[in-house]
Symmetry: C2
Subunit: 397 residues, 2 copies
């Protein structure tokens, strides 16, 4: 049989990064290509204990079908936590536990975006979500990222040019791929423009708890008096990715369509790990756990940046992340990072060319993304030294 | 903010059954409404042991990001199992582990069906998948179910009338909701018509391993020489539902679009439970486990059918399931089961009106679905006696 692939999926290409994961599995390859959190940060003994206890005391409660909205005690715990830490308003908002941050984007798009609708996105942005948007036939318009967040002049111009745009996608804290954190001023400006032009915002904040330097900046959702921000969080980076758990906070008017979208997609999320998250957050020292994870990432990020300062050609610039898992390096203006990355892979170092993260992947990018959370310290030094040598060969003075 | 819900989601209503689950949580309600497997069948000590061991020996392997296609050892185990038990051909087919049978339908639709496309479905059929199809804006055409499977004359007429139809949806074994098993002759005829009219089949077989009487009938996929059958299986009924694991077998030409669809939806499925399934199937006596589950369902089904024979008005007919979790009862022709079900709920017994399972939910149905896997034996007898009394009141002789 000759299959005809649906229009929505015809234009979506595989995530370059997921494919790179496979190259990264080569034990001789030093991989800065992935986005795995460091396994050092997983609270393994506590997870094991919680599972052992519940499998002894109440196994059926975590093995039988659960609710589409999520495990009620964990929903309550997260509402309480986000009220306390972010000042969220759960009079007007609801919270669902979903199957990872990726599903937050998937169901948001399913419920709000028609085929052919425009989605505005930071450019570059997390390719996983860009592909989700593409998989619903959305048209992506990129808003260039600057050192302090997206270019809000370009955002306003795009909002004027596309009054029908349905959604604005942003990762304001420790952005993937750029490592950039949007300033408070720009967050306010973004929210103000969203109100002025009546567009919903998907604020994706999987790394928000992983600030290891600088001062906290309020989330856009915390400023949201109009219920126009959908806020996606994830347990992947603060517990473990294979939990496949995230949460979406949204205007209560979206409760029914999101419930149905969840039912039609995967019925409900894994109950056992929802139980583990709830036990961990209520009975263990979650704050201390986060501090430990921040220490791990601070050290790894500093090691990578220090090695870049020491070994990279001075014409190569790079972001200074205050949290999260990624830094981005920029070859001199006009250079294409793709052949550079291909050469790096030849020499045993994996990183991802910036073009993979663009709204229009056919554009040339001088950037490449570096993940510092997965490699060991030795790999960071050795791999960055190899890249550093390559920058000197690549940039003719 | 006033949200506008996407076209695709505007016409999908919540699953009546998922909402009934909430009523079913009332401890005074006898629920035949759900579709939960019996918790007696969960291999709890074995699951607990496998998890305890892997959390001690290789925790990171089950907590870190996994592959979108599924955990490779489990994929290999399932290919081997399905080759052995069903004669599937993995030269031309591929198998992915997905997040439950529901996601098998979700990704199949995402990849193959455009908005406005026709999907042909058994009528009645599993409402969870009907809603999935609706959530992609598909137009559903129902093919009436008969005692031996769908009406193949009606199927051929529909195929002629809708040459553009993209997919035919069927649950040939122990169908949800009807409990009907499609005969070998009809399976052959369905496959032959699919070939003649060049349409893909989604064969949904979540209950296939739960035959407790009669002879095995080959799956449609086992006859598939043209690669036109997508075969969905589930671990929900043979391990535990909260695993959220199923598997999809499909023509290799669909590997890339299905990989991308999975990446954009939830990245990958829960790794820990994929590991558990693989260990269980390779190191424990899976066949004996299935036999035990079949014993449970045989006893419960017989008890329900016997009580129905004893107490129901003779004008009420019902299916004779040879496996699975459901029986369907039929009030006399022309009667509407909705007010009957509402009255039953008033009296403390929950079942689901047949109209919930129709391609066109506005049609009247004289049927109601009865689940025998979840209630206790006492609840089965007491609940059916209440329904039986009601049939006598309802049907004026």
């Amino acid at each position: 049989m000759q299959y005809e692939i649906s229009n929505r999926m015809s234009d979506v290409h595989g995530s370059a990064i997921r494919e790179l994961f496979k190259l990264g599995a080569d034990p001789n390859m030093i991989s800065f290509g992935g986005g795995n959190p460091s396994a050092e940060t997983f609270p393994i003994p506590e997870i094991a204990d919680i599972i052992a206890d519940v499998m002894k005391d109440a196994p059926v409660s975590v093995l039988q079908y659960g609710l589409s909205e999520g495990y009620t005690p964990l929903r309550d715990t997260m509402k309480d936590y986000l009220t306390r830490t972010q000042g969220f308003d759960f009079e007007n908002n609801e919270l669902f536990i979903l199957s990872g941050g990726q599903q937050c984007a998937d169901l948001t798009t399913k419920v709000l975006v028609n085929e052919g609708d425009v989605i505005l996105t930071e450019d570059p942005a997390f390719v996983g979500c860009l592909n989700t948007f593409r998989s619903y036939g959305a048209k992506l318009i990129g808003i260039p990222m600057q050192q302090d967040g997206m270019d809000t002049d370009a955002l306003e111009a795009a909002l004027k040019a596309h009054p029908e745009a349905k959604l604005l996608y942003t990762i304001p804290s420790f952005q993937n791929p750029s490592g950039i954190t949007t300033t408070l001023e720009k967050r306010k400006k973004v929210y103000e423009l969203a109100c002025k032009y009546d567009i919903a915002i998907l604020e994706d904040n999987p790394y928000g708890e992983l600030r290891f330097s600088g001062e906290d900046v309020p989330t856009i959702k915390s400023m949201d008096t109009e219920g126009r921000v959908l806020y996606a969080g994830s347990f992947s980076k603060v517990m473990a990715p294979a939990f496949r758990l995230g949460f979406l906070v949204f205007n209560k008017s979206l409760t029914m369509p999101l419930t149905i979208a969840k039912q039609t997609t995967d019925v409900h999320s894994n109950v056992l790990f929802q139980y583990v998250c709830n036990e961990y957050m209520t009975k263990y020292d979650f704050a201390a756990h986060l501090d430990k994870a921040r220490d791990v990432y601070r050290a790894k990020c500093n090691l990578m940046l220090d090695t870049m300062r020491r070994t990279f050609h001075p014409a190569v610039t790079f972001s200074q992340p205050e949290g999260g898992l990624f830094a981005m390096a920029f070859l001199p203006d006009g250079m294409d990072s793709q052949p550079f990355v291909r050469e790096a892979i030849q020499r045993g170092v994996l990183c991802v060319p910036g073009s993979a993260f663009l709204a229009d992947e056919k554009q040339v990018s001088n950037a490449f993304r570096l993940n510092y959370s997965t490699p060991t310290d030795e790999q960071i030094v050795k791999g960055i030294e190899i890249l550093g040598k390559l920058t000197h060969e690549w940039i003719k003075e």
